[in-house]
């Protein structure tokens, strides 16, 4: 079975029936998820036998000045497919997102990194310490307004 | 059996007793570097440099400082700028060679020397005078025309600027004349036969620089 990429629509269909109110919209190759629902969605994505996303490749955050995108790249080894889930956070101050630490332990260091460099806090993560920079560092350097 | 694998391992080390040593006795004996080696110096041919500062613009670190002024000879007739400053900050350079890649006129080359230890950070830049006076042993990095001639930078003969260009100096001169004469009189000796093909080897990574 060749390795394939799941489209956003396919993911959105599965999510819409299992986790109500979670899907914002589907885009060509990714699905946009309501930020507050991200942990529940993650649980479903991992446990659903048809989707079976056991492996979290990466958590990335992108700063769009008036909003922040958090991108989850996922892979299933058994089903041989990959998918992209995104969540959009609006505003710039006191951003937070439910942590997927309990679903994928691999999120541990990545979420800390996003907090340190982008300033997005993950609720439910046990250890929201700065990871790369020192305590007392002013600001989050990967934000576009950090010079 | 316990210890057998260790004996096997010791046999391996024993074999090395009779081997030729791998060590290079550095100050006396030097490793043969390869012609593309990007050393910690630069070779610059002023005659070919137009002061366009492509290298400075393309340097990822912005460490090349170029100051030019219009030369007294008529600039509207295609004459070049006069260079006053061409400083390369050695203390920040990472010798990636992107400046060489960006130079459209084959004026800047990587050098092949590496012995550049300094006592003071203040003197750690290559000035225009140093570039003018230093012996020219250009590396063939990103200059495939040198490679195709089998040139070796470590043969100790400095290369003249007429030998290192992508095209022969003749062609260059004719092109300049063409530019100068575009507004005026005849164009007699710019015959196409004398033009040499640009880029002589199949690899020819030069396309990026001019496009």
């Amino acid at each position: 079975m060749p390795f394939q990429a799941l489209t956003g629509e396919a993911l959105a269909d599965r999510l819409a029936e299992a986790v109500p109110d979670s899907v914002e919209r589907a885009d060509g190759d990714c699905v946009w998820v309501e930020p507050s629902q991200i942990a529940i969605t993650a649980q479903f994505l991992r446990d659903d036998p048809g989707l079976d996303f056991q492996f979290l490749n990466a958590i990335s955050a992108v700063d769009f000045i008036d909003s922040f995108d958090v991108v989850y790249h996922l892979t299933s080894f058994r089903q041989q497919h990959k998918g992209v889930v995104k969540a959009r956070l609006h505003g710039r101050e006191s951003l937070s997102l439910p942590s997927v630490y309990e679903v994928w332990r691999g999120a541990d260091l990545q979420e800390r990194e996003v907090w340190d460099l982008m300033g997005i806090r993950f609720e439910g993560h046990p250890n929201m310490k700065r990871i790369m920079l020192w305590e007392g560092f002013d600001g989050h350097p990967l934000r576009k307004d950090y010079l | 059996m316990y210890g057998l694998a260790m004996v096997k391992g010791l046999m391996v080390t024993l074999k090395n007793l009779t081997r030729k040593p791998f060590t290079v006795q550095y100050p006396e004996e030097r490793l043969t570097q390869h012609p593309r080696f990007r050393g910690e110096e630069f070779v610059w041919y002023e005659e070919r440099c137009t002061g366009c500062a492509s290298c400075a613009k393309y340097c990822p670190l912005g460490i090349i400082k170029i100051v030019t002024s219009p030369s007294e000879t008529a600039i509207d007739q295609g004459d070049k700028y006069r260079l006053e400053v061409f400083d390369i900050e050695l203390q920040r350079c990472m010798f990636c060679g992107l400046c060489v890649e960006a130079c459209p006129y084959d004026a800047l080359f990587m050098g092949s020397g590496f012995e550049q230890g300094k006592y003071s950070r203040k003197g750690m830049f290559i000035s225009i005078d140093q570039l003018r006076q230093s012996e020219k042993h250009p590396s063939t990095f990103f200059r495939p025309q040198l490679e195709s001639t089998g040139y070796n930078p470590h043969k100790n003969r400095p290369l003249d600027w007429k030998e290192v260009g992508r095209e022969s100096w003749n062609w260059h001169r004719q092109e300049k004349m063409g530019m100068r004469l575009a507004s005026g009189p005849d164009l007699d000796n710019g015959s196409a036969e004398e033009l040499e093909p640009a880029g002589t080897s199949s690899s020819d990574g030069s396309n990026g620089a001019s496009s």
């Binding site: 046990p126 250890n127 310490k129 700065r130 790369m132 920079l133 020192w134 305590e135 007392g136 560092f137 350097p141 950090y146 | 791998f22 060590t23 290079v24 006795q25 550095y26 100050p27 030097r30 490793l31 910690e40 990822p60 670190l61 900050e89 050695l90 203390q91 920040r92 350079c93 990472m94 010798f95 990636c96 590496f114 012995e115 550049q116 230890g117 300094k118 006592y119 003071s120 950070r121 203040k122 750690m124």
Partner: protein, 219 residues
């Protein structure tokens, strides 16, 4: 608190929750160093005295002591980034730094007299470097290997990189390159040898300053 933890006598809570104060202290030290180290330190220069009064005995002793010092420089094992691999390659079979009497890379700064700053120095690492440098016994020397250590190099201007290790400790020899090849490092070491040869250990009035070199400002 689990029974296991209670039995072992561990305080409650995971370790990372109990180390906040350490992190804060460290962060304050880093931030303090970053705020104060804005100018490079003066370069340790060797002063050649105007009146070469040094008599024959003193100069011979100097020569002997300097020869001893230069022939057995022991570097501290201290690799930071890419340059560390070239430093290790220098110590390995092909370039064999043992030919210079330097194969004893010491894990403890107390036993070393040369520090090769091999790699990018970040502000978070700077207090550690400063401390290791202070722990080394006099006389001591520092080679800044590669342009990252010299000036920040490819990372110059980054929010977390020291713009030159000479902002925090004095440097004797700078070796440019990114990274310098092992031969280039050996050349830097030989330059340091030349520098060590010029020391006047017994000249009256000379004194050692931190950095293990003679004071340039000494009258």
């Amino acid at each position: 608190m689990t029974g296991e933890q209670e039995f072992r006598g561990i305080e409650s809570g995971p370790l990372f929750d109990r180390t906040w104060h350490i992190d804060r202290v460290e962060g304050a030290a880093v931030q303090g160093l970053k705020d104060t180290s804005v100018e490079p330190l003066s370069e340790p220069l060797i002063e050649v005295p105007d009146d070469l009064k040094g008599n024959l005995v003193v100069t011979s002793v100097d020569a002997l002591v300097n020869w001893g010092r230069k022939s057995a420089l022991w570097p501290v094992t201290f690799g930071l980034a890419c340059c560390a691999f070239e430093m290790i390659a220098t110590a390995m079979g092909r370039f064999d730094i043992a030919r210079f009497g330097m194969e004893a890379f010491r894990a403890s700064p107390r036993q070393a007299d040369l520090m090769i700053i091999a790699g990018t120095v970040t502000w978070k690492m700077a207090p550690a470097i400063q401390r290791i440098h202070e722990q080394m016994a006099e006389p001591k020397w520092v080679i800044s290997m590669g342009v990252c250590a010299t000036s920040g190099g490819p990372y110059f201007g980054s929010y977390s990189v020291v713009p030159g290790v000479d902002h925090i400790i004095p440097v004797d020899v700078y070796v440019p390159g990114c990274p310098p090849r092992p031969d280039a490092l050996l050349f830097g070491v030989m330059e340091l040898h030349e520098k060590i040869k010029k020391y006047h250990n017994l000249r009256p009035g000379s004194r050692n300053v931190p950095g293990g070199t003679l004071a340039a400002e000494n009258p």
